[in-house]
């Protein structure tokens, strides 16, 4: 039998015993024929046979040789068969998809959205949680902060003297490096460009284990006074570069980022000598961050214990400065990713749910399709295709569909992850590249294949079962099997349940964000421009020079058209602000036990510019100068906390660690202001910026109209005063708040998008199953109408059927949401995970959508013409 024929009949390949028998037959035929030929020439029979064998040659070898060749042929044949079948399956799948372009398009879009959402979120998870940080042996790198014993995990700063002691006494690290914050200005041909930066000691880069892209990092000794100033550029700063009056000694690699919240563009050496020399500053001024590299066998916990023990020693040795001061520490990954992890994982879970719904949708579509293809399948079975072959064919179709969806999904993810990073703001740490890389592609591929199997297997199995019935009821508008319909209803119910879970999640996040946005911050966000000014250099060395500069700046900006008020303070309250210890005259408290309060130097007009009410007393005025008696304004909260039964005005207080500083008098009480975007207002003490010089200010300009329109004029005024001075981070107050809320907004937006997608898919699912059910019941409905059923009865019958699965899905979904709500806790503000209004709202939305999805099929059922329906039989 020819191999071609065998292929046609799909017979099993020749077995090895069969091949051996064939070869023996073939050779026996030869020997018989040859012997007969010899006998015809007169050789007697036994001799003829012997002669035939003798002259043949090496028989054993030939048999082995031929069998080996035959085995190879069989294997190759089988392989070509498989490849041919696969190609056949793929071509067939492609054709059958093209024959149903509507189905293919809907399925593709569904899958592309599901896979795209997953891939985009996963690309972020990959970049933040999975990919190596840009440090050598990144799991050995830790980040250190100063902390108070009351909040031992807080992320504060460390004092220089403490840091030196940590460095010399520790036994857990191969190295510790310190850094402080401090940027610079690039003065080029155009406007001065502010550069964010860090000052780092010579150890930092070896601790992080980073090699520069160009040049070198800082050498030992380069971080001491009197050496030519040197600069190391971050990759991005280098790309924008210029020359500078410091020597640029190197450029860091593009993937590198420093494990701090804000991105640094330049790095300059950190010299601690002046601070260490000053007794009052060495231990009492906390401004350093630190990084460390653990010794190979030391765990983070052990190293933390080591440092905390040293902090305890320091508390005993320097009670006046170190009481209540300790140190906190996290691995570099934790430090970088921080609070983003729960949000990311929730979003990854949400996108997985969306994908599950998408798969259920496609599975549902395939189920109905399988019904309409029953005849085709039955014909193929009749022609000899086995069940396995049919399942394989249908699975190939699903996989082709899935792969097309996957390709479209990855394309969506490339665009999506870029958009995600762009809109992420502060939520995503600056970890270099977030995008679709090889890991993401691999995972996307596997997800795609699993999807294909998932949504393909059920319809394939269900379609191939009972296929023999197919021919019998061919052409009879068959009802397609009760079981299959039940399967579709179950799929739709599941989809609805998953959609409900996502809707509840989105609802909770939306309500959290609304709560956060409606918090009264204690000042107005409308029409206010803000920017920062940092003075440096010889020109502003004296307090008078600084006062004179700001006085002129406020005059000039205040005179611009549209400006209502302008003022400045140490830092925007939304950025946390500074704190200081507070001592009250007549209430001796041991040093180290002094309460901490928020602390801000402000200009005279700041309250007007911020629209913070002055509740009582007076504002600062020109009479409050460096030499005049110290005056402060306290917030209402501070007044209530520290002078609960007395008038705060007139009381005398001292801020800061130096017991020899003179007392200041409270002259006013201002409204409470929230630092950050949430949380309680912090008790705050304001001092005049003319009595406490910071060498810079966050300026607030209150205007009428669009605050950003004022920016060119503001730049002009600043340039007129000092052409080398950059206007740092100009934006509206509302933008500052929005940035602060970005780690709430982005998860909310994504979750809302996912929920909407889920709801749409579920609605399509409901519509699909109802439309199919009405089509399948046309005859039954026709009979009912013929027997006198009213249109309204038919209508409500269909709607009731549709709402039945919606109610079931809703119940399961709400229960699921209540059970899963806990994972959202960290992302919620002012809302509990089982918030009743959210649940009620979701239930209403879902039922409304399900009802809408039933309407068209129900309307179609009402219009069934009984004559037509019965005749079509």
């Amino acid at each position: 039998m020819s191999s071609r024929f065998r292929k046609f009949l799909r017979l099993p390949r020749r077995s090895s015993s069969r091949r051996r028998a064939d070869l023996d037959d073939e050779l026996r035929f030869y020997f018989d024929m040859r012997a007969r030929e010899l006998m015809e020439q007169g050789v007697p029979e036994p001799d003829a046979r012997r002669e035939a064998v003798r002259e043949f040659g090496d028989l054993d070898y030939t048999k082995r040789y031929c069998l080996a060749e035959d085995a190879m042929s069989t294997r190759e044949e089988h392989r070509t068969d498989l490849v041919a079948e696969l190609r056949q399956d793929i071509v067939h799948s492609w054709r059958s998809l093209r024959r149903a372009p509507g189905f293919a398009l809907v399925a593709l879009v569904t899958l592309a959205l599901g896979i795209g959402a997953n891939t985009a979120i996963f690309s972020v998870v990959n970049a933040l949680l999975l990919r190596d940080l840009p440090f050598r042996d990144a799991d050995r790198v830790v980040r250190l902060w100063g902390a108070h014993s009351a909040k031992p995990t807080e992320h504060g700063q460390i004092s220089p003297a403490d840091f030196i002691d940590f460095r010399t006494r520790q036994r857990s690290f191969t190295g510790l490096g310190a850094f402080g914050y401090g940027g610079g200005t690039y003065i080029g041909p155009n406007d001065p460009v502010p550069l964010s930066g860090l000052r780092v000691d010579a150890n930092v880069f070896s601790v992080l284990g980073v090699r520069p892209l160009l040049g070198r990092t800082f050498a030992r000794g380069e971080d001491s006074a009197g050496v030519t100033p040197t600069i190391l550029l971050g990759y991005n700063a280098w790309r924008r570069v210029f020359g500078a009056d410091s020597a640029i000694i190197g450029v860091l690699p593009p993937a590198f980022f420093f494990p701090t919240a804000s991105e640094a563009e330049i790095y300059t050496p950190l010299d601690l000598t002046p601070q260490l020399r000053d007794v009052n500053r060495a231990r009492k001024f906390h401004f350093l961050g630190a990084v460390g590299r653990l010794k190979p066998d030391v765990t983070v916990a052990a190293a933390r214990a080591d440092l905390v023990a040293i902090a305890r020693q320091l508390e005993r040795e320097h009670p006046e400065a170190n009481s209540g001061i300790t140190v906190s520490m996290l691995g570099a990954r934790e430090a970088v990713v921080g609070d983003t992890r729960p949000a990311l994982l929730v979003l990854l879970g949400a996108s997985a749910l969306v994908l599950l719904i998408a798969c259920a949708n496609v599975a549902g579509m395939l189920l109905s399709r399988a019904v309409s293809r029953r005849q085709e399948l039955a014909v193929r079975v009749a022609l000899g295709a086995g069940r396995f072959r049919l399942v394989r064919q249908m699975m190939t179709e699903s996989l082709v569909l899935a792969l097309c969806g996957g390709v479209a999904g990855v394309a969506l993810a490339v665009v999506g992850s870029r958009a995600l990073v762009a809109s992420a703001g502060r939520m995503l740490p600056s970890t270099g590249d977030i995008g679709v890389d090889r890991t993401v592609l691999t995972v996307a591929f596997f997800v795609t294949v699993v999807c294909g199997l998932l949504f393909g297997l059920i319809p394939a199995l269900s379609a191939s079962r009972g296929i023999h019935l197919g021919l019998k009821d061919a052409g009879r508008g068959s009802s397609g099997g009760v079981g299959r319909h039940r399967l579709r209803t179950a799929l739709v119910t599941g989809q609805l349940a998953l959609a409900v879970v996502l809707l509840v999640g989105a609802g909770l996040l939306v309500r959290s964000l609304t709560r956060l946005q409606s918090i009264d911050l204690g000042y107005s966000l409308d029409s206010a421009l803000t920017f920062e000014i940092g003075l440096s250099g010889q020109r502003y060395a004296t307090a008078d020079a600084e006062d004179a500069f700001f006085a002129q700046l406020y005059d000039r900006i205040g005179a611009l058209p549209g400006v209502v008020a302008v003022g400045g303070f140490g830092s925007l309250p939304l950025r946390g602000g500074s704190s200081a210890s507070l001592a009250i005259e007549g209430r001796p408290v041991p040093e180290g036990k002094l309460p901490e309060v928020g602390y801000q130097p402000i200009s005279d007009n700041l309250f007007r510019a911020m629209q913070i009410p002055l509740e009582r007393g007076r504002m600062f005025g020109p009479e409050d100068r460096e030499q005049s008696p110290g005056v402060v304004i306290v917030s209402a909260g501070a007044a209530k906390q520290f002078w609960p039964n007395a008038d705060a005005i007139g009381a005398r207080i001292r801020l800061g660690p130096n017991p020899n500083d003179p007392w200041s008098t409270v002259v006013g009480i201002a409204g409470d202001v929230r630092t950050g975007t949430a949380g309680d207002p912090r008790p705050t003490v304001y001092v005049s910026s003319r009595q406490d010089h910071w060498g810079g200010a966050a300026i607030v300009v209150r205007t009428v109209g669009d605050p950003m329109a004022l920016l060119p004029a503001v730049r002009r005024e600043v340039k007129a005063l000092d052409p080398a001075l950059p206007v740092v981070e100009p934006r509206t107050l509302r933008d500052v708040q929005a940035t602060g809320l970005s780690d709430h907004r982005l998860p909310m937006q994504l979750m809302a998008a996912f929920a909407l997608l889920a709801l749409t898919l579920a609605a399509v699912g409901v519509y699909g199953v109802m439309a199919y059910s009405v089509a399948a019941r046309t005859r039954e409905i026709g009979v009912r109408v013929a027997l006198g059923a009213q249109p309204s009865t038919v209508f409500s019958m269909i709607v009731r059927q549709g709402l039945g699965s919606a109610v079931a899905g809703l119940a399961i979904g709400l229960a699921g949401a209540a059970a899963l709500g806990g994972v959202l806790t960290k992302l919620l503000y002012g809302v509990t995970p089982t918030d009743v209004p959210t649940f009620v709202g979701v239930a209403a939305v879902l039922l409304a959508v399900a009802l809408a999805a039933c309407l068209v099929p129900a309307w179609r059922a009402v219009r069934v013409d009984p004559l037509e329906a019965l005749r079509s039989e």
């Binding site: 020819s2 037959d25 073939e26 035929f29 040859r34 030929e37 090496d58 031929c66 042929s73």
Partner: protein
């Protein structure tokens, strides 16, 4: 006795078989007899080499095998040239002709 035939020899056997099967499908015995008669006994292919070649050529898909019924009503395995085999025969025949021409050009003056 015979180990696998030499490459040149193998190639020669192959091309002779292909040429023989180009006439009509034959069984192995038929091929052997045809070559013997056609070359008037100058060329005899050892039957061992012939059968090895047939199975090898089948694996290469230059010929294909089918079981049929012989002249004396016996089950016999018939080999037929495939399209690919015909292509191969044409190529090898051309090579042989060039080779033979070259050899004759050297030998001719005698």
């Amino acid at each position: 006795m015979t180990k696998p035939p030499m490459d040149l020899l193998q190639g020669t056997v192959d091309v002779l078989i292909l040429r023989t099967l180009a006439w009509e499908p034959m069984h192995g015995y038929g091929v052997s007899r045809f070559i013997r008669e056609r070359t008037e006994g100058v060329l005899t292919i050892e039957s061992a080499a012939l059968y090895q070649a047939l199975h090898r050529l089948e694996r290469k898909k230059w010929i294909r095998a089918e079981w049929g019924v012989s002249e004396n009503n016996r089950r016999a395995k018939y080999y037929a040239l495939t399209t690919e085999g015909r292509k191969q025969l044409r190529a090898e025949a051309a090579t042989w002709r060039t080779y033979a021409d070259a050899v004759f050009k050297v030998l001719e003056p005698i």
